[in-house]
């Protein structure tokens, strides 16, 4: 059972990583949701013992590698975000779907905000408010996944 769960966690993370590696360009690039963080948040809700801050940090390193930035930026952003997710994990499972959406949005937003702060330290310019669009598309993807029947923890009591 545990073995199975581990497998599905890492397979889904790998799938999210490949989604990230797609040759996005132009508008799609500005709209691209952070698949990796979405999958991590999902597993934080469903299997917090198997997927935790360490996993998020590790996957963040791979995202850093793929984006070609300085090592540790995404890792730090994911670490802090998952920290907030883990703290409120028990409350989160009780949330209804709207509350959950707001919560997921704020998590995505936090990760982008941390990245923005890190990039500002590296003397990069703010890209305008469209920079935060991936948070919104991320929530949309989350909602679509929920509508399609993905169990995001709220109904997990039956299992």
């Amino acid at each position: 059972m545990h073995q199975n769960k581990f497998k599905s966690i890492y397979l889904s993370l790998l799938a999210a990583f490949i989604c990230l590696l797609f040759p996005w360009s132009g508008l799609a690039l500005t709209l691209r949701p952070d698949f990796m963080l979405l999958v991590i948040i999902f597993w934080l809700l469903r299997a917090p013992n198997q997927c935790s801050v360490g996993t998020a940090w590790f996957m963040g390193l791979w995202v850093d590698l793929a984006t070609g930035g300085i090592f540790g930026q995404y890792a730090l952003a994911y670490t802090v975000t998952t920290f907030f997710a883990v703290i409120y994990q028990r409350r989160l499972v009780l949330f209804n779907s709207t509350q959950q959406l707001v919560y997921v949005f704020s998590l995505l937003f936090i990760s982008q905000l941390i990245l923005l702060i890190l990039k500002t330290f590296a003397s990069k310019e703010f890209l305008g408010w469209s920079y935060f669009l991936p948070s919104i598309t991320g929530v949309l993807v989350w909602q679509i996944a929920v509508t399609l029947g993905l169990n995001t923890g709220r109904h997990s009591r039956g299992k």
């Binding site: 360009s25 690039l29 730090l76 305008g128």
Partner: protein
């Protein structure tokens, strides 16, 4: 109600109250410290370059998998492209070839003439650049930096610092090489500067990427500088990175404000930074530059001792006797000697030598 909540807690396999390892706060502290240490190491020291390279090799198969759908789509698209389109393209290419043939003939003549003149001058031979054709794999994923990744890397002889050019102009410069791919920073990136020359009047300047929108800036030029909108910027070649004479950008806006001593000049890059797939990676062999430089110095050291200073070389050479003096100027400023082969000869000199 209360019971329901308790029921919830019992059933979910989420945080058990025992055996959950270190607290989230401890984990946060640990991994944050680790990330910060990594960032510091990566940005200040060079230790991680090799690690990154080997990890990128690991990542390559995944990248190929991720690229497969779009590649397949393009392939089928090309395969089923219409007869009409092919005919049209064939026609267009034939016309283009004809036009370029004529230009090429002129070029042959000119390069022949140029070689003759250079032989007369005993100047360094113009460097031949090595170039590799690459295809853009994907646009950089970091929205803060303007980068692209091309499918040629160290295994194909690409070196960091190579200029990246497409059919219409300069695109950027290779900033990182991996075994089978390399990262190109576009000229519109804020941190990239490119030495340019105004085609109309030969004025030299340095263009910087603007960073946010796809434009270039020409900063720190006085308000009365002779630049108009519509001027074409070409590479000056004095940096030893970009071959001279490549199109870079067109001036689109030239503004002067009374409160600033500098003009605000905005240029639009001519290279298809966002829309082409094939690019050429051009690298100028650095070692050859040095050796030819050294030989020039050695040759020069053997014959008559240098008597005149560099000032003498400023005068146009009217007879063969002044040649060593010109060489001496090269020796005294090795940097200039390195740049020299890139630059077209000043008109008066070549004219003087041609008349001999």
């Amino acid at each position: 109600m209360m019971q329901g909540i308790h029921h919830n807690f019992d059933q979910q396999q989420a945080p058990a109250f025992f055996a959950r390892g270190p607290s989230p706060l401890a984990r946060l502290a640990f991994f944050t410290a680790l990330s910060l240490a990594l960032m510091a190491t990566d940005s200040r020291l060079q230790y991680l370059a090799n690690v990154r390279e080997s990890l990128m090799t690991l990542l390559h198969p995944l990248q190929v998998v991720a690229n497969a759908p779009s590649q397949a789509y393009r392939f089928t698209n090309e395969y089923f492209s219409t007869h009409h389109y092919l005919l049209y393209e064939n026609e267009r290419l034939r016309k283009q070839a004809l036009r370029q043939d004529i230009a090429l003939q002129r070029l042959n003549l000119l390069s022949l003439e140029n070689t003759n003149l250079r032989n007369l001058l005993q100047a360094n031979k113009k460097l031949t650049e090595t170039s590799t054709l690459g295809e853009i794999m994907h646009v950089g994923r970091d929205p803060f930096t303007k980068k692209i990744v091309v499918n040629r890397g160290k295994n194909h002889g690409v070196v960091t610092g190579a200029a990246v050019v497409d059919a219409t102009g300069v695109v950027g410069q290779v900033t990182r090489t991996y075994p089978s791919s390399s990262e190109v920073t576009l000229i519109t990136n804020k941190s990239l500067a490119i030495p340019i020359q105004i085609e109309r009047n030969g004025l030299r300047a340095i263009a910087f990427g603007h960073g946010r929108d796809n434009t270039l800036d020409l900063p720190f030029l006085p308000a009365n500088v002779d630049i108009r909108s519509g001027d074409r910027l070409v590479t000056s070649g004095i940096d030893g990175v970009y071959p001279a004479g490549l199109a870079v950008a067109t001036v689109s806006e030239m503004k002067t404000t009374p409160d600033s001593p500098f003009a605000r000049i905005v240029c639009i890059p001519t290279g298809g930074i966002e829309n082409h797939r094939q690019v050429l990676l051009v690298s100028i062999p650095r070692t050859e530059v040095e050796t030819s430089d050294d030989s020039a110095i050695n040759e020069k050291n053997k014959p008559l001792p240098v008597t005149k200073s560099g000032a003498g070389s400023l005068m146009p050479a009217a007879n063969p006797n002044t040649k060593p003096v010109q060489d001496s100027s090269k020796k005294m400023t090795p940097g200039a000697a390195e740049q020299n082969p890139q630059k077209p000869l000043p008109n008066n000199q070549s004219a003087a030598n041609a008349s001999e």
